[in-house]
């Protein structure tokens, strides 16, 4: 396995120079052109930014965004993608954690970038793509690169109200892509259909599988996922063979009766992740695509997108629970009890992960990192960090892992990780709210906000839209005269749970 992304990119570009690496409805980038653009951007950026520095990126959902990412890697730096559609206050939060010297935006998003009051230098992607390639400088940078250099920082919901930036190294990324490629059997003949936002962790597969294998990737416009007829038509036009999508997309397609008129004819390799796949949804997809391979993937951003996978080997029943399976190659996954002792087979314990896929920690948050990435309590002999996922699991007799819910108030909603406490603290900043508690009704995929105070639902919804990503804004607002409390003064989640029914 090659662990240097740029060497791998150049090798692939040599083999598949004129083949499309990335496409979207507006155009395509061949591997040759992709490498050229990345080198240009890298050469331009290297004049402004020393290696091993973060560069924030705010660009659109198009083929040039991965070229910006790879260009930053050519400069020896690492990227932190920011979705320009997020509320300004959240983008500012990300910048305040990252404190980058540069922010790279495309022309379309430059105005939004300027509004953020960013104190560093704002660079325009299109201008950097015009820089001359400085081979000498790039090879000097490449020669001093290390396998464990950071590759990206991806931000996720944080329980304190500030987003956490998970830092992943180049080696971790390549280890994961290699393991995923082995499981899914992706090769140069495949066309990947990208669904994940490019700033989100799940997109790393769509960006780096082409680099690794010579496969092509098509960026599917976001709105097609609400219009299944349009989605399937595009997938057939593009002859998409493989997807790695969030579970919610599969569910929505079934709810909208997508298979009534068409199906994605070329689709053969399907991975789903992000939340628990309902048996009935999977069954509907299996019925429509009986020849396709279906793989359930589980794992957090902190372990490079994943930990375990489970290939489905039979038609599932409507109420069947899909296991999360076995560790990917080079992932060590095991269960621990709260006291740090090993969980016996058949009992429930916390899912813990170790291996070269562990994140380097949370950016600019040493205390949080030290708390989350700890010495393996079972290893007294040498330094070995593990990540405790906060998820509960149970090991079956055949070595297959089952998912058994969360320890805390983190939920998975529409494929995104959401800390309910982050919603609480955002809501509490509204003047007319005294107490607030967000709850999740999993069966209906609805976030509720219970609150006391005088604020009207509309006012709360508008405010929260301005400070939280759309998927985190509650859909049901319930005003209470009094918050139900436990004897110790804490809010009774059990009582609120009853109110959601």
């Amino acid at each position: 396995m090659e662990i240097n992304i740029l060497r791998q990119l150049e090798r692939t570009a040599e083999r598949f120079k004129d083949k499309n690496a990335y496409s979207d409805p507006e155009g395509s980038l061949s591997f040759g052109r992709l490498t050229e653009l990345a080198k240009r951007l890298g050469s331009g950026l290297a004049e402004k930014l020393p290696p091993r520095s973060p560069a924030a990126v705010m660009t659109g959902r198009n083929i040039y965004t991965p070229a910006v990412f790879l260009g930053i890697v050519y400069a020896g730096c690492f990227y932190a993608p920011m979705d320009p559609a997020q509320p300004e206050s959240r983008l500012k939060d990300i910048l305040s954690v990252l404190m980058p010297q540069v922010l790279i935006a495309d022309r379309e998003n430059a105005e939004t970038a300027r509004r953020l009051g960013f104190e560093g230098e704002l660079l325009i992607a299109e201008e950097l793509f015009e820089s001359d390639i400085n081979e000498q400088r790039l090879s000097l940078i490449a020669r001093s690169a290390c396998a464990d250099d950071p590759l990206y920082v991806i931000f996720t919901s944080g329980s304190t109200g500030k987003p956490k930036g998970v830092i992943t190294s180049m080696m971790s990324l390549m280890t994961y892509i290699d393991a995923y490629q082995e499981v899914m059997g992706i090769g140069p003949e495949d066309v990947l259909g990208n669904q994940s936002p490019l700033d989100y962790i799940a997109a790393i597969r769509d960006i780096y599988l082409p680099v690794m294998t010579g496969a092509s990737m098509f960026i599917i416009p976001k709105q097609y996922f609400m219009m299944p007829a349009e989605l399937f038509r595009t997938m057939n036009e593009q002859r998409i063979t493989a997807v790695g999508w969030s579970v919610s997309v599969f569910t929505i397609a079934v709810k909208l009766k997508a298979f009534k008129e068409a199906r994605p004819e070329y689709l053969k390799k399907i991975c789903f992740s992000g939340s628990v796949m309902p048996g009935a949804t999977l069954r509907a997809w299996q019925d429509a695509l009986p020849e396709a391979k279906f793989v359930n993937q589980y794992g957090p951003t902190e372990c490079t997108a994943s930990c375990t996978y489970h290939e489905i080997d039979h038609r599932v029943a409507d109420d069947e629970e899909i296991p999360i399976g076995k560790p990917y190659r080079n992932y060590r996954v095991f269960l621990l009890n709260d006291d740090g002792t090993p969980t016996p087979q058949g009992e429930i314990g916390e899912i813990c992960v170790a291996g070269p896929i562990l994140a380097l920690g949370y950016y600019n948050a040493p205390e949080l990192s030290a708390k989350s990435f700890i010495q393996d309590p079972l290893n007294k002999a040498y330094n070995e960090l593990i990540y405790k996922t906060g998820d509960h699991g149970r090991l079956r007799e055949d070595g297959v892992l089952e998912f058994r819910g969360r320890k805390d108030r983190q939920i998975k909603h529409l494929g995104h990780r959401v800390e309910l406490t982050e919603i609480d603290s955002a809501a509490m900043r509204i003047e007319g709210i005294e107490e607030a508690c967000a709850m999740y009704l999993k069966e209906k995929e609805l976030i509720f906000l219970f609150y006391t105070g005088t604020a009207a639902p509309k006012e709360i919804a508008v405010y929260l839209r301005g400070v939280l990503p759309g998927f985190m804004v509650p859909r049901k607002f319930e005003r209470l005269d009094k918050m139900p409390k436990l004897p110790n003064g804490k809010i009774s989640m059990q009582a609120l749970k009853e109110l959601m029914k």
Partner: protein, 77 residues
Amino acid sequence: MKEQLMEILEEIRPDVDFENEKQLITDSVLDSFDIVSLVGALNDEFDIDIQVGNLVPDNFNSIEGMMALIEKLQQED
């Protein structure tokens, strides 16, 4: 009909100005989750059966588009 429709839309997304937004889908004002809730609610309220082929941006970009779709489906019955 418009009043009933507005009531449904307000319930699903109280923060959106449906009177003036004319690119609800194209500009990603509504997300797929909203569409699923909306399709279910419209089917129930207006006794129609929205098909996958009806799910195109024109039918959902604005309240006018939605009303036209509802009328069309009601007449088909």
